[in-house]
């Protein structure tokens, strides 16, 4: 047995669609291959046709025999009237009849002979009269008054605003300090505090100085105690003044 026969036998046993003779998944129209050559011949002839008529005769004698006139009906006179019905441009909308009728009717009365005499009147005036002079001072007083009111309002508002912002240090010391402290930076405040603490340290060193001991060696303890009793009361009063 040849290899080929073995393979075919195996495919048959498996009922595979690859087996010749078995119907595959895709169907081919009946007589497709019989008609195909003639179809292709017709197509290549149509490609070489001189015009559309010859082409359709080659491709389909059936279609070439059907009337080219479409069977649809057209309203009578349609083509005769089409040209006149076409809007030619963005024409203005048609006015309703009522408005169209009123368009040319005069409304206001004009003196008799007005338009006929007008050119001569104007000419006479132009020749006989000087040009009118418009005084520069003849202006509406109302405008000046309005301007003055606006200026006064702005000035008053400015003064009031300025007063509200200014602070007297004698009458409103706290507000004055608060306002001016805002101008001092944090670094400057810290530096001031550092300097102040250094000064207090310096004072502490001064108090431990030997010179003071020498000055007080001739003063009795009772005198020192009396002195301290007198100054203690006074210091308290001064503290009150400082903190208030």
């Amino acid at each position: 047995m040849s290899e080929r026969t073995n393979i075919l036998q195996e495919l048959k046993e498996l009922q595979s669609s690859l087996t010749p003779g078995l119907v595959p998944g895709y169907q081919v129209p009946e007589s497709f291959f019989e008609n195909f050559p003639a179809l292709m011949l017709g197509r290549v002839k149509a490609l070489e046709a001189a015009d559309a008529r010859e082409e359709i005769e080659t491709l389909s004698p059936l279609l070439s025999s059907i009337s080219r006139k479409a069977p649809y009906s057209v309203p009578g006179g349609y083509f005769q009237e089409l040209g006149s019905r076409m809007p030619k441009d963005e024409a203005p909308e048609k006015l309703p009849a009522m408005l169209a009728g009123l368009k040319d009717k005069p409304t206001f009365a004009v003196p008799a002979g007005y338009f006929e005499n007008l050119p001569e009147q104007i000419l006479a005036k132009a020749n006989g009269q000087k040009a009118p002079v418009v005084s520069i001072t003849k202006r509406s007083w109302f405008r000046y008054a309005a301007a003055a009111v606006v200026i006064a309002f702005v000035a008053i508002f400015g003064i009031v605003y300025q007063n509200q912002n200014s602070v007297d240090p004698e009458t409103r010391s706290y507000a004055w300090v608060e306002k001016n402290m805002k101008k001092v930076s944090t670094d400057e405040i810290n530096r001031f505090v550092e300097l102040a603490s250094q000064e207090s340290n310096d004072l502490a060193r001064i108090e431990g100085n030997d010179d003071i001991s020498n000055l007080l060696k001739d003063v009795s303890d009772k005198e020192i105690q009396d002195f301290l009793n007198e100054t203690l009361i006074g210091e308290n009063e001064e503290d009150d003044l400082l903190w208030n």
Binding site: L39, R43, A46, L47, D51, A52, R53, E55, I56, L59, S60, L62, L63, I66, S67, R68, K69, A70, P71, Y72, S73, V74, P75, Y78, F79, L82, G83, S84, R85, M86, P87, K88, D89
Partner: protein, 183 residues
């Protein structure tokens, strides 16, 4: 390709303000039926065809001044008409929520609703068969079969290669023939 003498004269007259309207009217008279039937075969209904045809000529009024004359005038007119048809069908599709390829369902209905419709007559069967084609193939078939438009001109109308148009037309003929023979 140069314009015909008549089309050249029409263009010259149209571009002259004095004779513009006269030229426009002449142009409408010359091409109205051809364009009408091209449109009517696409949209089927007369009222729809009338709307589309008028839209076409309005576009012509606005655009003819700038017509470049690199194709025949009627090619340009057909191109406008084809585009207006496609726009109209697209709008109809949106209104009725029907896909363009299913549009023939609605148009088939309109064909059958025509007062003169006769299912036994070959010319009516042809109209029904045409509606089975895809939209662009429908246009190709109608331009070639009814208007006998050269492929070179059709290529400019539809902006498709001549080879593709020929193939499309040949397929369309086959499909239509099969439809007529089987219905």
């Amino acid at each position: 390709m140069s314009l015909t003498t008549t089309d050249t004269e029409l263009l010259v007259q149209f571009r002259d303000p004095v004779t513009k309207e006269k030229a426009y009217t002449s142009l409408i008279r010359k091409y109205q039926e051809k364009l009408y039937w091209h449109i009517r075969r696409m949209v089927v209904d007369h009222d729809d065809a009338n709307d589309v045809l008028q839209n076409v000529f309005i576009r012509v009024w606005k655009g003819l001044e700038n017509f470049r004359e690199d194709s025949q005038l009627y090619t340009w007119l057909y191109r406008i008409a084809t585009n207006e048809c496609l726009t109209f069908l697209e709008q109809q599709k949106k209104r009725t929520s029907v896909s363009l390829d299913e549009e023939e369902g609605g148009l088939t209905h309109k064909i059958k609703a025509d007062e003169n419709f006769d299912a036994n007559k070959l010319e009516w069967k042809l109209q029904l068969a045409i509606q089975q084609l895809p939209e662009k193939q429908r246009i190709v078939f109608q331009l070639r079969y009814y208007d006998e438009m050269p492929y070179e001109e059709m290529s400019k109308v539809l902006e498709t290669s001549e080879g593709a148009l020929k193939a499309s037309y040949h397929h369309a003929v086959k499909k239509i023939e099969d439809y007529i023979l089987n219905h």
